[in-house]
């Protein structure tokens, strides 16, 4: 999984004059991890829960080693990352694809995200979590929109504020582990063998979860997200929504719940309430948006609320649904941001009121947009339905009222997505510039169609993807059952 890093080095070393080669090389380099993911899908290990693959001794004087491993959940997210990277390289316009820094930053980002999903200990998880920020800083800072300075700094400060708590949590866990093993062992195997007291478990859970939830983002901590999405360049938004938001939820699933379960049981209700508020709030605010990119950004708040609701319910079905919903949301929102990016390149505006009736000039675009909207709403037969249905099914026994309220989020999603679609695409063409809009060309079609195929595939045949998350969900839910049994 080091390939993206090598790739970015290659790109940075290439002379500027050969800029037309940057895109093919980047695509080639991101096909390699994509191919590896496909290969791993067929591997028997990939369906299990977390297994260590490789350990490196790092700081010997403190006994710190870095562990890397993989599980079905990580593999799915790696696959999602790989495909979104590949397609965003395909979709970006000439202006970006000929810039060394842009391609290089995305490859570094890919490397860091892979690192997060593969890391098998707290320290490397934190390192990659923090290392994500540097390429994002440059991506948003250099190629962002008008108000990028504010948005970038807000994004960085929010994330760093969260990661400070993860850092202290890591240190705390390290000190505890030092007390019992004699070295700063932070790998998941050692952590699961340590027995934390209820007090420690609560504190650690709060620290880690707070840091990860900022990244998710959960309701009161979400305000960085719309700004960051709107100001980031298209490829940046795709990756931010598609991949980076998953990092937070992944961290909760991988670290907070399995190791600090007592803390989870203590605070899960608060998380559930906040995520339901997030579902409804995100959806209502999305209805009011006049900027289509902001609308999709708020819809992310709503969708990630579903993921967190599923996680907080903490039974097998809802956890499975949450993981599937993470992948689905990456595909759907990634595709929507890509589509908005295509439109922005043509008209240089994202205001919904600047469009109207463009179905007449861009029929293919309108069809694809409608398809993605349906997927986002959760129409049966498409991917969104699978995840949300499983989450609501799973969480209903635990939180009857909350999941009942959360279900309204699906209805609200239909309102904001379809209303936006109606305002943008149907009716007469109201603004003159829109009469000359060009429909999607082949390159753009190629870059968006694979996502549509995946949405349909997951919607029709969900057991395929379910097979990869079963073990993870089972593992986590069993731990939760054990602990809640012990408490009662």
């Amino acid at each position: 999984m080091l390939f993206p890093l090598v790739g970015s080095l290659v790109i940075f070393m290439m002379p500027k004059s050969r800029s037309e080669l940057f895109r093919p090389i980047a695509i080639f380099l991101s096909i390699i991890p994509f191919g590896l993911c496909l290969y791993l899908f067929s591997n028997s290990k990939s369906k299990g829960s977390f297994v260590d693959i490789h350990t490196i001794d790092w700081i010997k004087s403190y006994g710190i080693s870095l562990t890397f491993g993989i599980s079905g959940m990580s593999l799915l997210l790696l696959f999602l990352t790989a495909i979104l990277m590949l397609l965003s390289f395909l979709s970006v316009s000439e202006k970006y694809s000929q810039s060394k820094g842009f391609i290089g930053s995305i490859l570094v980002l890919h490397f860091a995200v892979n690192g997060v999903f593969l890391s098998g200990d707290l320290l490397s998880l934190f390192i990659f979590f923090e290392a994500l920020l540097i390429p994002m800083y440059f991506l948003m800072g250099i190629w962002g929109g008008e108000n990028r300075r504010y948005a970038t700094i807000k994004f960085i400060i929010y994330t760093v504020f969260g990661s400070v708590f993860i850092f202290i949590g890591t240190v705390y866990a390290g000190v505890i582990s030092y007390g019992s093993t004699g070295r700063l062992a932070l790998d998941f195997m050692t952590l699961s063998s340590l027995s934390f007291t209820a007090e420690q478990s609560r504190v650690l859970f709060l620290m880690f979860t707070f840091g990860f939830l900022i990244k998710v983002p959960i309701f009161p901590l979400h305000t960085w997200l719309p700004d960051a999405h709107v100001e980031a360049p298209t490829a940046g938004s795709i990756l931010l929504a598609g991949v980076l938001l998953k990092v937070g939820a992944y961290g909760v699933l991988r670290v907070s719940i399995p190791f600090f379960t007592e803390g989870f049981l203590e605070y899960k209700f608060i998380i559930a309430v906040l995520s339901v508020i997030g579902i409804i709030y995100g959806a209502i605010v999305a209805i009011a948006q006049i900027d289509i990119k902001r609308l999709i950004a708020y819809s992310s708040v709503s969708h990630m609320g579903f993921v967190m609701l599923g996680i907080s319910a903490g039974n097998y079905l809802s956890l499975e649904g949450a993981i599937i919903q993470m992948v689905n949301h990456g595909l759907t929102t990634g595709a929507l941001f890509m589509l908005v990016g295509f439109l922005y390149e043509r008209r240089h505006t994202r205001r919904i009121s600047d469009f109207g009736g463009i179905k007449a000039t861009m029929p293919k675009y309108a069809a694809i947009f409608l398809f993605c909207s349906f997927a986002s709403i959760g129409l049966p037969g498409l991917n969104g339905f699978v995840g949300e249905f499983m989450i609501l099914m799973g969480s209903f026994p635990t939180y009857k009222v909350l999941s009942g309220i959360g279900a309204f989020g699906v209805v609200l999603a239909a309102i904001y997505m379809l209303w936006a679609y109606q305002r943008m695409f149907t009716g007469e063409i109201s603004i003159k510039e829109n009469e000359e809009l060009v429909d999607l060309d082949t390159k753009e079609m190629i870059s968006v169609i694979p996502l549509l195929v995946l949405m349909l595939f997951i919607g029709i045949y969900p057991s395929f993807i379910e097979g990869y998350v079963t073990q993870d969900a089972l593992f986590i839910s069993e731990i939760i059952d054990i602990f809640s049994g012990r408490l009662n």
């Binding site: 700081i59 390192i127 990659f128 540097i134 760093v160 390290g174």
Partner: protein, 490 residues
């Protein structure tokens, strides 16, 4: 004769680095006042002098291997791990600042050699300071070092800011020295001790509860004098003005050398002399650390002048380093790692400032950085590495040093302190990333010229940036070194 010299512990190798530096300075002085010598010859003399200094530090290592921790010159000079560590760091600071110091001095026209001589003399003073066993020696070393620095701050006489900086540094610095020497006197009259090891023996002998209050006040005054030098709040008020006013080329040297020497002495005080009475000082140190963090973070966020920003960031970093030193033995080793990493980044940043700005100019507003990416990519990359290192981003030495330090602090159960320190890093991300933004991202409004670098500048910057990354990826060697320094006190 032989027996006498043995009895008083006469040994030239122990003060070798100091002697070589003084000798080099004197040769340069001689060349300036008697025979016309070309710049090249002077440059060679200085460079050879610095190399010989490093060589004599190696000789000291040889002596240490045979004699172990030992004292010389009737218990005035001490040879231990702290002094060796200090010698190595100071000579390396001198080596890596050589290019910026020399290039700045050539712009001084007729006073150029004076500046070099002052630099060498101050280095010799600080060498003596880290070697000192008796408090008087400590004072002498500190004064030799500091007085040269006062003069260096004001060497550009045409510049008002430079004059102001020198005067301010001199007045406040001599006040701090007064306090220090008063503290030494108080310790002497109350317990009749005048050395680090004397007090380490005397205090447990009479029992820590029987130590007179005067001694505590004396130690407190000594610490205040040293904390002034490292610019820990509330003794930081000189730092921004002095950094701002002094010729840019010298600030990197001035800032790093005084910090390194003073922190090593503080470390030795806490490890050796105050070992059994550290509890009585915890509140004082905690206050200094917390105030440093708050004052530094607060003022650094509002600075528009880069040199002032680095000064306030130095206040924060002093707080970090101090928090480790006072917490215990392992904390001290973490702090030494931190100190080394910070020194590397500090020198790197000021080398870059020296290249960008006029070398003698004192102002360096953040706008000077704009367009740096167009002017020179190598500089921008190095600058970003140093700034990210200061902020503590993973894969730089800054992260490792923070991680080790925080881990140690947490294991000493100073939880509140950890939270304060970590929150200051959040603020740090704001003001460390802003200059990178200006340098790498903002488009310059006026057309800019390319900057061409001298080979020596490329070499020293490259080594410093490489070291920042290297200690971030493979920190083992430096950690082991910093543990070796404190191994006797475990």
């Amino acid at each position: 004769m032989n027996t006498i010299s043995e009895a008083i512990g006469f040994n030239l190798i122990v003060i070798g680095p100091t002697l070589v530096l003084v000798a080099t300075a004197l040769i340069l002085l001689f060349c300036t006042i008697t025979i016309e010598t070309s710049d090249f010859v002077k440059k060679s003399i200085t460079f050879v002098g610095i190399l010989l200094t490093i060589f004599s530090v190696f000789l000291k290592f040889g002596l240490f291997a045979t004699n172990g921790v030992s004292s010389y010159f009737t218990e005035k000079i001490l040879l231990d791990e702290f002094s060796l560590f200090g010698n190595v760091l100071i000579s390396l600071i001198l080596l890596f600042n050589f290019s910026s110091i020399w290039n700045t001095s050539t712009e001084l026209k007729d006073k150029r050699t004076e500046a070099i001589i002052l630099t060498l003399m101050s280095a010799s003073g600080f060498m003596l300071m880290v070697d000192s066993e008796s408090f008087m020696m400590l004072f002498i070393g500190l004064e030799i070092g500091s007085i040269s620095l006062y003069a260096l701050a004001g060497i550009n006489r045409g510049d008002l800011l430079s004059n102001e900086a020198a005067l301010k540094y001199f007045l406040l610095g001599s006040l701090a020295s007064c306090v220090l020497v008063y503290g030494v006197a108080l310790i002497y009259i109350s317990l009749s001790i005048s050395g680090f090891y004397d007090s380490a023996i005397a205090i447990p002998y009479i029992g820590s509860e029987n130590v007179p209050l005067t001694t505590f006040i004396g130690f407190l005054f000594v610490l205040v004098g040293l904390l002034f030098k490292v610019a820990a709040a509330p003794f930081q008020s000189w730092a921004p003005d002095v950094y701002h006013g002094s010729p840019t080329g010298y600030v990197g040297y001035m800032a790093s050398v005084a910090k390194v020497a003073s922190f090593l002495v503080i470390g030795r005080l806490c490890m050796v002399s105050l070992r059994y009475v550290m509890d009585n000082f915890q509140l004082f140190f905690l206050a200094v650390v917390v105030i440093s963090i708050f004052v530094g973070s607060f003022f650094a966020t509002v600075q528009t002048d880069m040199k002032r920003l680095i000064a306030y960031s130095g206040v924060i970093q002093s707080g970090f380093i101090l928090s480790g030193i006072v917490s215990g033995v392992n904390g001290t080793s973490a702090s030494l790692f931190y100190l080394t990493a910070y020194t590397i980044q500090l020198i790197g940043i000021f080398t870059i400032f020296t290249i960008i700005s006029g070398k003698l100019s004192s102002d360096f507003s953040i706008e000077n950085l704009s367009g740096l990416f167009v002017e020179n990519k190598f500089l921008t990359i190095c600058f970003s590495i140093f700034m990210l290192g200061l902020a503590g981003i993973p894969l730089t030495s800054g992260f490792i040093s923070k991680f080790i330090l925080i881990t140690n602090l947490w294991s000493y159960e100073s939880y509140v302190l950890v939270f304060i320190l970590m929150l200051s890093t959040v603020a740090g991300f704001y003001f460390y990333l802003r200059p990178i933004w200006v340098a790498a991202i903002d488009k310059p409004e006026t057309p800019v010229e390319q900057i061409t670098l001298k080979r020596s500048e490329v070499l020293s910057l490259g080594v410093l940036a490489f070291a920042t990354i290297f200690f971030g990826l493979l920190p083992d060697s430096l950690i082991n070194l910093s543990r070796w320094v404190i191994q006797n006190y475990l």
